[in-house]
């Protein structure tokens, strides 16, 4: 395995790890923690404000999660492109040798 191959593999693994981190963050339910404000302070302004925060957190977590997953997917895609390029380059070189062209 050459040095270039090592980077491609590491990038692919990192992409998977990044995607996984994004998925796990997406599963963190911050918004649900604030439902008990209504039980604690009935009739208060805070109940409505807590709903606003819950909605904001739901959006923020979802966007962060999606963006992180996209980053991971992009890294994996980059690794695939690099690997495909490497394969193509290797194939090109192989074709050149097989056609009898002599190196200098």
């Amino acid at each position: 395995m050459n040095c270039y191959q090592v980077i491609i593999d590491a990038l692919r693994k990192a992409g998977i790890a990044a995607e996984s981190a994004g998925e796990q963050v997406g599963a963190v339910d911050l918004a649900g923690t604030l439902t008990s404000v209504a039980d604690a302070l009935p009739g208060s302004r805070s109940v409505q404000a807590a709903t606003g925060v819950a909605n904001a957190w739901t959006d923020q977590i979802e966007h962060w999660s999606i963006d992180a997953q996209k980053l991971g997917q992009g890294m994996s895609a980059s690794a695939d492109h690099y690997a495909a390029s490497e394969d193509a380059a290797e194939a090109d070189l192989g074709t050149a040798f097989l056609s009898g062209v002599r190196p200098f």
């Binding site: 040095c3 980077i7 590491a10 990038l11 693994k13 990192a14 992409g15 790890a17 990044a18 996984s20 981190a21 994004g22 796990q24 963050v25 963190v28 339910d29 911050l30 649900g32 923690t33 604030l34 008990s36 404000v37 039980d39 604690a40 302070l41 009935p42 009739g43 208060s44 302004r45 805070s46 409505q48 404000a49 807590a50 606003g52 925060v53 909605n55 904001a56 957190w57 923020q60 977590i61 966007h63 962060w64 963006d67 992180a68 996209k70 980053l71 991971g72 992009g74 890294m75 980059s78």
Partner: protein, 435 residues
């Protein structure tokens, strides 16, 4: 706005629960964000794709710092609200207990209901007992008012922080690490309590009646009286009763607009009044200290309000203030932090910033008369001018400058060394408004 009945149902437990749940759930965020950061930062990866990934990584890190700052701000605010509700429940319990002990009840709307005297009260004691019950009722109403005020403060503090998180106004303080962002968020979850304003105006006596309610053809005497009263105002000014003069002139100018007066000046001029205000302030210090002891809120700033207290300034106190105000309502509000005794059995210490407030309705509704210079002024003739529409009653109010006290909590009966009112009388002849 939450009602007194809502306050009875307020509970700190769910707020603590929310804070704990938030802590547990958010604890995973920093290390997941670190995972992502580490993964997307690959040694040996260069070029345009690597640069684009670095930009996205930085955006994600910044986004997570804002989320974490918001979460810690919310946790801090939830804990503060929980502490506040714990103290509030004690106040509600005290008020309900006093009501029950005296046969009163407090409705969910905060009304104090008195079933009246028991049927077996001897007739000769009925008046005295009725007066006693009026006093208890007034105290209960005062307590209910304080509870509602405190509840609004607790609710506003939490709602304001939550509102800022919801609107994305909690910043990460320029943090470059999640720990620093969390710290910045926590600092924004505390709203520093301010000195509360005066309590809502209490009901005033009916005064002379409706302004301008007399028919126009009956106003001749009143216009003559108005001239006389103007002369009295001039004499009052000449005698150095400058507040009395200014208030009378304002009555005669018939605008009915509010007039501002400085309680600091009144406290400086009337030592007995200052003593009463200081006594009320000391009582509040003891109450707040007892509350901090009971609720374990030592070291945390607590807002307080004494509610309105009545005081009568007689001519022996100051002729100027007697003619200017007579009976007044005053209150003391502030923010106090109680520190526990350094040694068991020692004195608690208190640090507080506070103001005294004053309120009076300038009206003439008694049956008295007074001589100012050559002019005899009767309550009836002055009240008649208001009904005739040639003079008008008005509210007089004002607050002292903020004062600071740091020292021991005074034991009952002891007047603490509170700051003296400033001696900043700039005008001549003791007139603060003199031009």
């Amino acid at each position: 706005m939450a009602s007194y009945g809502d306050m009875r149902r307020w509970q700190p437990g769910p707020l603590d629960g929310a804070e704990q749940q938030l802590k547990v759930r958010s604890d995973t965020l920093p290390w997941l964000a670190d995972d992502l950061s580490r993964a997307s930062k690959q040694n040996g990866w260069h070029g345009m794709a690597a640069d684009a990934a670095a930009i996205k990584r930085a955006q994600l890190a910044d986004g997570m710092e804002h989320i974490v700052a918001g979460v810690t701000a919310a946790r801090t605010a939830l804990m503060a609200a929980s502490d506040g509700v714990m103290g509030l429940k004690n106040l509600v319990s005290d008020a309900d207990g006093i009501a029950q002990a005296h046969g009163f009840s407090i409705s969910d709307a905060g009304e104090v209901e008195d079933p009246g005297l028991p049927p077996d009260v001897p007739a000769e004691q009925a008046d005295m007992m009725r007066q006693e019950r009026e006093k208890i009722k007034a105290e209960l109403l005062d307590r209910v008012q304080q509870i509602l005020t405190r509840a609004v403060e607790i609710d506003n503090s939490l709602a304001d922080v939550l509102g800022r998180i919801g609107r994305g106004e909690i910043h990460d303080g320029g943090a470059t690490t999640l720990a620093a962002a969390a710290e910045a968020g926590a600092a924004q979850g505390i709203t520093t309590p301010q000195i509360p304003g005066p309590p809502p105006n209490p009901p005033t006596d009916p005064g002379a009646g409706d302004h301008g309610s007399d028919p126009w053809y009956a106003r001749g005497d009143d216009l003559f009286m108005k001239d006389l009263a103007g002369t009295a105002a001039m004499f009052a000014d000449g005698a150095g009763w400058t507040h009395a003069s200014a208030h009378l002139r304002h009555y005669l100018d018939n605008s009915g607009t509010d007039l501002t007066v400085s309680p600091d000046e009144m406290m400086r001029d009337v030592d007995r009044f200052r003593g009463e205000v200081d006594k009320t302030t000391a009582a509040e210090m003891r109450r707040v200290a007892a509350e901090a002891e009971a609720n374990g809120t030592h070291g945390k700033p607590i807002q307080f309000s004494s509610g309105w207290k009545g005081e009568y300034l007689g001519p022996e106190d100051s002729k100027d203030w007697y003619y200017a105000m007579g009976g007044v309502q005053y209150s003391v509000t502030g923010v106090a932090t109680v520190h526990p005794p350094e040694q068991p059995g020692g004195e608690s210490r208190i640090e507080m910033d506070y103001k005294a407030h004053l309120l009076d309705r300038y009206n003439w509704d008694g049956g008295k008369q007074t001589e100012i210079g050559p002019v005899t002024i009767t309550d009836d003739s002055m009240a008649e001018m208001h009904r005739a529409g040639v003079a008008q009653e008005f509210n007089v109010s004002g607050s002292t400058d903020a004062k600071h006290y740091a020292g021991p909590v005074p034991p009952p009966g002891q007047r603490p060394e509170l700051p003296a009112p400033p001696d900043n009388r700039d005008g001549t002849r003791t007139d603060p408004g003199r031009k």
